[in-house]
């Protein structure tokens, strides 16, 4: 327990002697446990699913090469209206606010760009001319010699675009001077919508997932298998792990947007978008994509889920063309199968069923992991920070500080935890941040008591006395010398409290005081229905909560056995 962490004394020892420091021992111990390894891998994969949710479950295509007639028409119309409007307003002289004019021009330029995107280079003359004409006009405004000619030029270009640049009927040749052939453009709709934070976590997790590949390579080739070097490289490796994703996020140029709804699928299905090639994610449903004819549809592999072509259930309590309670005929509502989706009665269409709005439960569960898993981690980070600070102050200084803080711990501890959290969340309002904060602010007492105990145990030991005798500042003694030796039980408690945090969040959401829609958490998926008829809504999210908590508890066990040999076997 009291070994030095970063092998300072062994630096003088010749590297050939393969000494083992604290972390060597811990890692070796952890490595020996099969359940620990399996749980860790499973958990890493669960986090991967949550982090890469936009790439796994989405109603946007990952890759699209298509002719989008509808959006071409829209862009042309907006470009024309924008250009005419701008010129007219300048012409009346009513509004010569340069900043406003610039803003309007850049809006028109984006439209021009998206029009050009779908044109063959030879057909781009008119839009290019329009852009130049607008430039000219604005320069004239700046110089104060705006002429009627400027407006005339823009107007005539707009008119020519209207007449000459209709999109040709797909498959037919363009009529020169009337229509133009649209060229397929490529885009990456999912990637383009990733925000920096998402890119950060995706890059981080890519490095983590590839760890079994790069780590042995680095150790063997760059560090030549030298234990001492490997040990010294631990901190730089960790820093790289954090720094590389930050770099990736800073370089990233995409625009952050919500992934709630897109029109790609409908466009392709209706023919508005002529897709030459479209790759959709594995689960081609968005988290907010609803379907009127499929509300509360059981998992599609279940016999009761079969729906006829007219949109009536074939088996089970909802079968028949008449409503059971009102005895009125039910209107026919055929299931609309869109592009990239599995056919109506395919077993994998909605493998976990749908909710009250016909949203795919699998997609919502994959996205829901983001909230649930994050709440556990962040609240734990917070409670460990508070607990460590309070505990080390109380344990190190003792005296009245200890009495005061211990009383505080006692007070907070006497509340039934879940109850207190429930009240606080109900009153501060449910949001992801609030829930993390509240869980952290209420549950720090356990860690504080552990740290306090360790500090009291360590305070009188020689190395602390020596550090004090050398005149080292209190803060340095606490954080540099005592705390590292007191961290083992904290690490164990932290692992368990991630599990507890996930449980608490899901309990809150279950009662309706948790995360509000539209981004679901696993707990809030239950709110959709508590009726036993909709068993799939109750089984699947709960199963995932259970699994996650179980994995964290298994990992906690492993860490405890490895870090705290005193408690070995005592489970």
């Amino acid at each position: 327990m009291t070994e030095n962490r970063e092998g300072a004394p062994s630096a003088a020892v010749p590297a050939k002697i393969q000494s083992r420091d604290y972390w060597d021992i811990v890692l070796a111990q952890l490595n020996k446990r099969r359940t620990f390894r399996i749980s860790l891998v499973a958990l890493v994969l669960m986090y991967a699913a949550a982090i890469y949710a936009p790439l796994i479950a989405n109603d946007r295509p990952l890759y699209l090469k298509a002719v989008d007639t509808a959006s071409y028409r829209k862009a042309v119309r907006e470009m024309r209206l924008g250009a005419n409007g701008l010129v007219e307003r300048i012409g009346t002289g009513a509004d010569l606010n340069l900043a406003a004019i610039e803003a309007e021009r850049s809006a028109i330029l984006t439209r021009i760009d998206s029009v050009r995107q779908q044109l063959h280079p030879e057909d781009r003359a008119l839009p290019d001319e329009l852009a130049a004409a607008l430039d000219q006009t604005i320069q004239d405004v700046r110089r104060g010699n705006l002429t009627a000619e400027d407006a005339e030029r823009v107007h005539s270009l707009v008119e020519r675009i209207r007449v000459e640049m209709e999109p040709a009927v797909p498959g037919e040749a363009a009529v020169p001077g009337r229509t133009v052939t649209l060229v397929p453009f490529t885009s990456w709709p999912v990637l383009e919508n990733l925000g920096r934070l998402e890119v950060y976590f995706m890059a981080l997790w890519a490095i983590v997932l590839l760890w079994p590949i790069w780590n042995p390579v680095v150790n063997r080739w760059a560090l030549k298998g030298d234990r001492l070097l490997i040990r010294r490289a631990r901190r730089p490796k960790m820093l790289t792990l954090v720094a590389l994703p930050i770099l990736a996020a800073l370089v990233w140029q995409g625009k952050s947007s919500d992934f709630f709804l897109s029109t790609y699928k409908t466009g392709i299905t209706d023919g508005g978008i002529l897709a030459e090639r479209a790759i959709f994610p594995w689960v081609p449903f968005g988290i907010a994509e609803s379907s009127d004819s499929e509300y509360f549809r059981p998992p599609t592999w279940h016999p009761e889920s079969e729906i006829s072509d007219e949109g009536y259930y074939v088996n089970g309590p909802r079968a028949g063309r008449f409503d059971v309670t009102t005895r009125l005929p039910k209107p026919a509502k055929p299931v609309r199968v869109q592009f990239a989706e599995v056919g109506n009665n395919g077993a994998l269409r909605h493998p976990l069923g749908t909710d009250s709005l016909g949203r795919d439960l699998l997609a919502r569960i994959i996205w829901g992991g983001r909230v649930s898993l994050a709440v556990g981690l962040v609240s734990t980070a917070l409670l460990v920070t508070i607990g460590v600070i309070v505990g080390s102050l109380a344990g190190y200084y003792g005296g009245w500080v200890d009495i005061l803080l211990s009383r505080l711990i006692e007070i907070v501890q006497t509340f039934p935890v879940f109850f207190l959290i429930l009240i606080l969340v109900a009153f501060v309002g449910p949001s992801i941040i609030n829930i993390m904060l509240v869980i952290g602010l209420v549950r720090w007492t356990g860690v504080a008591r552990l740290v306090r105990g360790e500090f009291i145990r360590l305070r009188e030991q020689d190395f602390v006395v020596a550090s004090e005798a050398l005149g080292v500042r209190n803060a340095r003694t606490i954080f540099r010398h005592v705390l590292p030796n007191a961290m083992s039980p904290v690490l164990v408690a932290a692992t368990f409290s991630v599990a507890a945090g996930i449980l608490i969040e899901s309990g809150l959401s279950f009662l309706g005081f948790g995360i509000q829609l539209p981004i679901p958490s696993w707990g809030s998926l239950f709110i959709e229905s508590r009726s036993s008829e909709h068993w799939w809504i109750q089984i699947f999210p709960g199963l995932l909560i259970f699994l996650t908590v179980l994995l964290y508890n298994l990992i906690g066990e492993g860490v405890r056995d490895a870090l705290d040999p005193r408690l070995k076997g005592a489970d």
């Binding site: 879940f418 508590r530 089984i539 709960g542 298994l554 489970d571």
Partner: protein, 325 residues
């Protein structure tokens, strides 16, 4: 204990009063919610009504003064009336509700001890056997099971849509008043099986893990080796020497289970619609009824404190080495 109680109530009071959502505006703005609300509605001037309401419930005084008033009445066991049913005293309602929750909690505490101790002891004694492995694994699974999900799954399995064996709503049938005493008791037991199961399994898993751990710790001690060396039978060694000492920490866990149970009762009572304290607190929260929330929380904190006290006393009882001045 009393300073702790004051600290708790003060903390709660401040949190509640600083929270957004003003009871005065809420009560005035609610149409048809009791005589007081209606009377205030009748006054054409809302502002006026709110000021009067504030004055009546002393909401216009400084926080500390409000707390003084409040703690004074709490000391007389008076939590005020419900905001939306002004003729119902929170104390009376709370008392009615506790008569539901406390027996349920006690039953589940007793049950979890009754089941957990043998499991813990046996798995520790037969360490490494198949029985130990299965029991430890199932306890571990139970330990990770979210209680609301367990409740829902039990309803799915045993309720109407599943096997249809057990009722899932409330604590007795609609026409329970006409039952004979025996049938009434049977009915309540029938209704209580699922809620008690959900309340129990968490504490059970926790206790049996602690029991096993404690037993293993004790079995390693020197005096057990001595006992074996003396030639005592394994029975005597385990049940007389080891058990007694490993029981000490487990008995005191009673206090730790109580807050878990009270927190859990919110969820369990909501799932099974049992009119107990947990459901009362939940309803109070939904309606932002300060008196109800304060009443239930104070009561549950008080119960927890009593639990701590009991466990301290039992600690001294079971372990003669510990004495309190």
């Amino acid at each position: 204990m009393i300073p702790t109680m004051i600290g708790i109530t003060l903390l709660l009071f401040v949190v509640m009063r600083l929270a957004p959502g003003d009871p005065a505006t809420l009560a005035v703005g609610t149409v048809g919610m009791g005589a007081e609300g209606a009377a205030m509605q009748a006054e054409s001037n809302m502002e006026d009504a709110i000021t009067k309401f504030r004055k009546k419930y002393k909401l216009d005084e400084p926080l500390l003064v409000q707390y003084g008033y409040w703690i004074g009445s709490v000391a007389r066991l008076d939590f005020g009336n419900e905001f939306f049913r002004p003729n119902v005293k929170v104390r009376d309602e709370l008392w009615r509700r506790m008569q539901v929750t406390v027996p349920l909690s006690l039953v589940s505490v007793i049950l979890s001890y009754l089941i957990a101790l043998p499991i813990g002891i046996l798995t520790a004694v037969k360490r490494g056997s198949v029985a130990d492995k299965t029991a430890t694994l199932s306890v571990f699974l139970l330990y990770s099971l979210p209680n609301f999900w367990a409740g829902l799954m039990l309803i799915l399995i045993f309720g109407k849509t599943g096997l249809g064996w057990l009722p899932v709503l409330g604590l007795h049938d609609k026409d329970a008043a006409s039952f004979t005493t025996f049938r009434y008791v049977m009915d309540v037991v029938h209704h209580a099986i699922l809620p008690v199961a959900v309340l129990t399994y968490g504490g059970l898993a926790y206790l049996s893990r602690q029991m096993r751990g404690g037993m293993l710790e004790v079995i390693r001690q020197d005096y057990i080796r001595t006992a074996r060396a003396k030639g005592l039978s394994e029975r005597v060694v385990v049940y007389k020497h080891a058990l007694r000492n490993s029981l000490i920490p487990v008995v005191t866990l009673f206090a730790g289970i109580l807050p878990i149970l009270i927190g859990g009762s919110v969820i369990v009572e909501t799932i099974f619609t049992i009119p107990g304290m947990g459901l009362y607190a939940f309803e109070g929260l939904v309606q932002r009824d300060y008196n109800v929330v304060m009443g239930t929380v104070t009561a549950s904190a008080f119960m927890t404190l009593v639990g701590f006290l009991i466990s301290d006393v039992t600690y001294a009882l079971v372990d003669p080495r510990i004495a309190y001045d």
